[in-house]
């Protein structure tokens, strides 16, 4: 208080715009439009038998919680502490060294201290200490403990739906504390009270009932792909005839449903179709396992497992030998780190071997599922594709490492190798913003709704800032990636922070460069835009 009375008048006038110096525990969340997602609708929670299904709004005072909500949360924490050793470890071992503090894209872009990973974890740790440690029970606030009040619950909700589980912070943590897992636990606890967001709950319900996030039924999936076939014929003169739900195919192809409906993912999807056709691959699409993505993963461990089960079930039903997966981020985190233990062993499948090159994908020995970037890189390495990278000469491309594929499973070199072979102008973003240290798009883990656009712009700023740098320095005009959420959301991010930079999936660029047997001279790219220097003669 002393400073207040010794301050000069001009110093006092400065205070107007300074934030109040309150401790972090005493700053309840204010829900401002554009920074949070809508609450999960009752009908969507009902479909998957989740508790407290009702319509509610985060901005309203009353969240329509059950009377014993505190008991439910505390029981939920207790159960998870006994089930997951990692959670207890992460609650206990942080020494608050601050190594993670400035590594989060949400903190870097928002300047909100509660987006420092250490503080975001502290939101849950403070409750853990109060109810599950002797020091917290006795000393309370002094020991960093606090009561679980409704304001605290709202704060948990606000910030745990403001973390994209990208794990950049964990790369820098000397103890290896994985903030993504803390967020996962936080979201599980919130789901015990029906506190999901609708952008996650809707897709989860759809996926549970129809097999994909959009709720596309078999005929719609088939129609959608047929549209792409018409466009491919326009561009190449080649009529492709893929198969659906074909028993006895060698390979099942699974990709995120975002590729089926939203540009520019749709062009990536055309890329898959063209590549597989050119190879004469014995593969099939499935209208049941029609979703590689898994928004259950952003809900709870159990929900993710339920949604994931259909991939092996369909592989078994169709009698395929192995699976190729399309370009998606979190789908691969699930496949790589969870699918085998949840729904494996997939002993009815064979160890994947490329029918074109004979390469054994030993890394997929257990899951039997191969990433398409690995598959294509192997084709190129073995000289099996005829490519004309000059068709992408109008593009100056940079590569965005998607968090889940880069940090989650180490796919760093394969897409770069493919990219260097299909285009002539490739420029890396600065080292500290790519590979394991890549910055998130700011819209992952189901935060790719539109109502939280301001938050997305904050979260994606660090990524966009690096893109802007290569745009200004090298004239980069294309941001390539292997993630459906990236393709859907980076477009908006670029529009705000780095206009003139477009977004493409890797296999769109592959297909543009792919010289197909019997094709006509290409004058257009997959977007049906004229290829510079190769326009149709009048």
């Amino acid at each position: 208080m002393a400073t207040k009375f010794t301050a000069k008048p001009d110093e006092l006038s400065k205070l107007d715009y300074k934030p109040p110096k309150k401790g972090w525990m005493d700053n309840p969340v204010e829900f401002k439009e554009n920074t949070f997602c809508w609450g999960a609708k009752g009908k969507n929670l009902k479909i998957i038998d989740f508790p407290n299904a009702r319509d509610w709004s985060p901005a309203e005072e009353d969240w329509k919680l059950p009377e014993n909500w505190q008991e439910i949360v505390l029981e939920g924490i207790k159960e998870r502490l006994s089930k997951y050793r990692s959670l207890r470890l992460f609650m206990d071992i942080c020494v608050r060294c601050g190594a993670c503090a400035d590594k989060c894209h949400f903190f870097i872009g928002s300047g909100d201290p509660k987006n420092m990973p250490v503080l975001r974890a502290e939101l849950l740790r403070s409750i853990y200490r109060r109810y599950f440690t002797a020091s917290g029970k006795m000393l309370g606030k002094i020991a960093g403990a606090r009561e679980l009040t409704i304001d605290v619950l709202k704060e948990l909700w606000y910030y745990y739906y403001q973390c994209t589980e990208c794990r950049r912070c964990s790369v820098f943590c000397p103890y290896g504390i994985d903030q993504a897992e803390i967020t996962m636990m936080g979201r599980e606890l919130l789901n015990l009270l029906g506190l999901n967001i609708d952008w996650i709950a809707g897709p989860v319900a759809n996926c549970y009932m129809k097999g994909n996030h959009l709720g596309l039924e078999p005929h719609t999936i088939k129609n959608g792909i047929e549209f792409f076939l018409d466009d491919i014929e326009t561009v190449t003169g080649i009529k492709i005839k893929p198969t659906f739900n074909r028993k006895g195919a060698e390979i099942l192809f699974v990709t995120p449903s975002g590729d089926l409906f939203a540009d520019p993912g749709t062009y990536t999807c055309m890329g898959y179709l063209m590549l597989f056709h050119e190879l004469g691959l014995d593969y099939t699409w499935s209208t049941y396992a029609s979703e590689g993505g898994n928004f259950g993963f952003f809900t709870s461990n159990e929900m993710a497992k339920r949604l994931n089960a259909k991939i092996y079930a369909e592989a078994k039903r169709l009698g395929v030998k192995w699976i190729i997966g399309g370009e998606c981020g979190h789908m691969w985190r699930v496949v790589h780190q969870y699918m085998d233990t949840w729904n494996g062993p997939a002993d009815f499948l064979e160890e994947p071997v490329s029918p074109i090159t004979g390469t054994k994908f030993e890394n997929a020995k257990s899951t039997k599922m191969v990433h398409i970037a690995e598959f294509t890189a192997d084709l190129i390495k073995n000289g099996k594709l005829k490519l004309d990278p000059s068709r992408n000469d109008h593009l100056k491309v940079t590569w965005h490492d998607s968090c889940n594929t880069a940090r989650g499973m180490g796919i760093l070199e394969e897409p770069r190798y493919v990219l260097r072979n299909v285009c002539n102008h490739f420029y890396e973003m600065p080292e500290e913003t790519i590979r394991e240290r890549t910055f998130c798009c700011g819209s992952g883990t189901g935060l790719n709704a539109s109502e939280n656009m301001e938050l997305r712009m904050r979260g994606g700023f660090a990524r966009a800032n690096a893109v802007k740098y290569v745009r200004d320095r090298y004239g980069v005009n294309m941001l390539a990636n292997i993630c459906a959420i990236d393709r859907a959301t980076l477009k908006a991010l670029m529009e705000y922070w780095a206009p003139d930079v477009q977004v493409a999936g890797l296999h769109e660029l592959v297909a543009n460069a792919l010289v197909m047997k019997g094709e006509k001279e290409r004058t257009q790219d997959l977007r049906l835009e004229p290829l510079p220097g190769k326009e149709a003669k009048e």
Partner: protein
């Protein structure tokens, strides 16, 4: 322009104070980070502000910008306002960073401007700062409008393919029903026309 050369001499000190005031509009834990981190990629807010205010100050010293006459705004100002337009600030808080420059200049030049020396030049310079604030207001509104526009466009492009699949629209590329009514729905493929 004797004032301008005085201001140019004091540039480092003026910018230092201006930077500190802007950074202090963030919570204390954050302002330490924004002040102390060097890399423009690890700390894009701090580095954009620090570089931006220097460029803005240089622009002010150069005098009226011919671009402003054409209604164009400073890119450096845009870089800073664009960030603050999506952060947790009210509109007035977001743009509050401009006005303290006046006070800092008067503090820095207390001796030199005593006895109404340079009063015309000071008035002109402060008017330029006022214009900067008006310009920042234009940028701020443009940024906010853009957020809503991006939201709307995102929803439209998400439904475009579904409408196309449902045979409800014609994209002038040969898909969809060939009716005049549908041709009026001028939605370009891959990008919704504004």
């Amino acid at each position: 322009m004797r004032l301008n050369s005085l201001l140019a001499d004091k540039k480092a000190s003026i910018l230092g104070k201006w930077f500190d005031i802007i950074i202090e509009s963030y919570p204390p834990d954050t302002s330490n980070f924004l002040k102390n981190q060097g890399s423009r990629f690890a700390n894009p807010i701090g580095s954009t502000i620090s570089q931006g205010i220097e460029d803005i100050f240089d622009e002010l010293l150069r005098g009226p910008n011919p671009l402003q006459a054409e209604g164009k705004t400073s890119q450096f100002l845009d870089n800073i306002v664009r960030i603050r337009a999506v952060q947790d600030f009210t509109p007035s808080q977001a743009l509050s960073f401009i006005f303290p420059l006046k006070r800092i200049i008067r503090e820095e030049l207390t001796v030199e401007i005593a006895g109404s020396r340079f009063s015309d030049e000071i008035l002109a310079f402060e008017s330029a700062i006022d214009n900067l604030a008006l310009s920042a207001f234009d940028i701020y509104i443009k940024c906010r409008e853009q957020i809503y526009e991006i939201k709307a466009n995102e929803s439209k492009s998400m439904t475009f393919r579904l409408l196309q699949m449902a045979n409800l629209i014609n994209d002038n590329n040969g898909h969809g029903p060939d009716s005049k009514e549908n041709n009026n729905l001028k939605i370009k493929r891959g990008e919704v026309k504004k």
